[in-house]
Symmetry: C2
């Protein structure tokens, strides 16, 4: 079984729905957002903490957090006037599984020397 990216391939839809994956990857492809994700993997934080940790401006962080939220990578939990952000493990496990499947397919292809002739 392969990535959920393309329409062909062998059967069962992988972990995430197809259109999601591009969005998730684009969300993770930014260094600051990746930093945020890494920080959130250890503890839930609110924007104030992230401002301290990253040195980025509040507005900027708010934008990035919105992107992470819309990609389904983080959950928000309002707590008084604070908003806690927590990483959603499912989003990452799906990606990890997809990449692992791709990697094993690629290894098989490389070892068997599958090559379309011109």
């Amino acid at each position: 079984m392969v990535m959920s990216v393309d329409s062909d391939a062998s059967g069962a839809p992988a972990t995430g729905t197809a259109p999601d994956q591009a969005r998730v990857l684009r969300a993770l492809a930014d260094p600051l957002r990746m930093r945020i994700v890494s920080l959130l993997s250890r503890e839930a934080l609110c924007t104030t903490h992230l401002v301290e940790e990253t040195g980025a401006k509040q507005t900027n962080l708010s934008n990035h957090l919105k992107i992470l939220r819309e990609a389904g990578l983080v959950d928000t939990e309002p707590c008084g006037r604070f908003t806690y952000y927590a990483l959603r493990p499912e989003a990452l496990t799906g990606l990890a599984a997809d990449f692992a499947a791709l990697a094993s397919a690629a290894r098989l292809t490389a070892e068997a020397g599958f090559k379309r002739s011109c």
Copy 2:
């Protein structure tokens, strides 16, 4: 052990070197490039094949292939006047491992309810 993304964290450098990862993720964050990667996971192809499969223009594909190459995701093997592109499994296994580590860290954080107080 956590992502190779940030400088802190617990010890061993993960699979890929840090600056690489952003580039790899950016390379994968494009739908067409992801499609290419998916196609290459099953068999090595040259640009002509990819033009047929994706319907994209040759120039466009050449650009995307360059990005994938510079990200270390694909290898090129000249074959006469053709150039075969093959997916490099290592790049994917590294990513898969990193995401799996992140996911398990996130799951632990979620279950234990780690949360920095404001």
